[in-house]
């Protein structure tokens, strides 16, 4: 039996996937370098700068840095965010943060997306995403 049409289907999916990847890059800030779009080295790797604030007694408190016990969770989210853009879900980092900081009623995660602007050839901030995650249940 000749399976060439099946092979063709495999090749067509492989060939068209980068179109999907480019759409993800442009709509959800997925890294141009990642997800098998063959866009490695196509531009300066975009940077997703992740910052956190907490809400205590109704006031936002800017943190001097990431609490040391949350360093791994922070790094994990920052890495996922750099590759997956807005597909990366910040809720796990927020949950861990609220577990570690019982006095906080909410955590605000702010992500600046920085990338090369091809017109000016400068590295610029293109957008800021802000996620506010409230404590929904008492910390056990």
């Amino acid at each position: 039996m000749d399976h060439r049409r099946r092979w063709l289907a495999l090749v067509v999916v492989f060939a068209l996937w980068p179109v999907v990847q480019i759409v993800l890059v442009h709509t959800l800030d997925v890294s141009p370098w990642k997800l098998m779009g063959w866009g490695m080295y196509s531009t300066i790797p975009p940077r997703h700068l992740v910052r956190m604030r907490e809400v205590v007694d109704g006031h936002e408190v800017r943190l001097g840095g990431v609490p040391i016990r949350l360093a791994d969770d922070y790094r994990h989210y920052a890495k996922r965010r750099a590759s997956l853009g807005r597909l990366a879900d910040p809720s796990e980092l927020a949950r861990r943060y609220l577990e570690a900081r019982p006095e906080a009623s909410a955590v605000i995660i702010e992500v600046d997306v920085q990338r090369l602007d091809p017109t000016s050839a400068r590295f610029l901030r293109f957008r800021r995403d802000t996620y506010r995650i409230e404590r929904s249940a008492p910390v056990r």
Partner: protein
């Protein structure tokens, strides 16, 4: 180098899709067995070398090859492919091992790891009951070359960082070995300005220099990638296009140090060539990868990054 691709004859009624797939050609008997055996060994042996290289050379593929179990499984598939006749099992193991590693690394999986896993999977699928499946697998692998090189070039157009040397200016600013290699193409003042940026932060730039050589190099990169992808569709020119591909890959290796990607693509390039040239290509590539691993292991402090 002569190409030996012979199109698989269409069976039965005209099938446009099947013909479209076969249009890039494949090998037929008696070359097929010889090429197939060599290709399977190439993919299987490249697996452990890939992972060991990633594990022991910092900065190549962060975290790839960290799991000793994965590296051991890759080594086993290389051993199976070379020392036994269980080549199908070797390829199944390679496909599974590389796919598991790609999943472990997700979403940071480097593209060359996806590529290697996909090559192993396609090769495994070529071990069908019907021998024509091997010929079809080689046809698919040739298409993979066209797709990967074509998209690598198109993506550089999409992001607009290769029209006036922007990306090259950036790597000049962050990679000392590129700074040394490309520094002569621009004025000292420009070079100092770029180096002062370091890792980019908001407002840095412009990543553009008044250097026609750098502009030509940038444009030439994507033009060359697309040209070799398209060029391989024309049978008469394949030997020349293969040589051009090796040159493009050599330049990429010098500036980007993306050795595994270069090695895999060079191996697939061999599948467009005569049996002898294909065999030579795959062995030279494997020896090159092995050389890099040995340099790292036996020359203290040596690194190419």
């Amino acid at each position: 180098m002569e190409t030996t691709d012979i199109q698989v004859e269409a069976s039965g009624e005209a099938d446009v899709l099947a013909k479209a797939f076969s249009s890039i050609g494949t090998y037929t008997d008696p070359e097929l067995d010889s090429v197939w055996g060599e290709w399977v060994r190439f993919v299987a042996l490249a697996a452990p070398l890939h992972l060991i290289l990633a594990r022991f050379i910092p900065g190549t593929s962060p975290d790839v090859g960290e799991s000793l179990a994965i590296v051991a499984a890759a080594a086993l598939c290389g051993l199976l492919a070379v020392a036994t006749t269980a080549r199908r099992a070797a390829m199944a193991l390679a496909a599974v091992t590389l796919t598991v590693e790609a999943c472990i690394q997700f979403p940071e999986t480097p593209n060359h790891l996806y590529l290697h896993a996909f090559l192993a999977m396609v090769t495994y699928l070529g071990f069908g009951a019907d021998r024509r499946e091997r010929a079809n697998a080689i046809t698919a692998l040739r298409w993979i070359f066209v797709v990967v090189m074509g998209w690598a070039g198109i993506q550089k157009i999409v992001y607009g960082a290769y029209f006036r040397g922007e990306y090259l200016a950036y790597i000049t600013s962050v990679k000392p070995f590129v700074h040394d290699a490309l520094g002569w193409t621009m004025s000292e003042a420009e070079l100092r300005r770029l180096v002062a940026f370091g890792a980019p932060s908001v407002g840095d730039g412009p990543y553009r220099v008044d250097s026609p050589i750098l502009w030509i190099a940038g444009i030439g990169t994507w033009v060359a990638e697309i040209a070799v992808a398209v060029g391989m569709l024309f049978r008469a020119h394949r030997p020349k296009v293969a040589v051009a591909t090796f040159l493009v890959l050599a330049v990429i290796e010098v500036f980007m140090r993306e050795f595994v990607f270069g090695a895999l693509i060079a191996g697939v390039t061999g599948l467009f060539l005569s049996v002898g040239a294909m065999r030579l290509t795959s062995r030279v590539v494997l020896v090159g990868l092995l050389g890099l691993v040995l340099m790292r292991v036996f020359v203290p402090g040596w690194s190419f990054n």
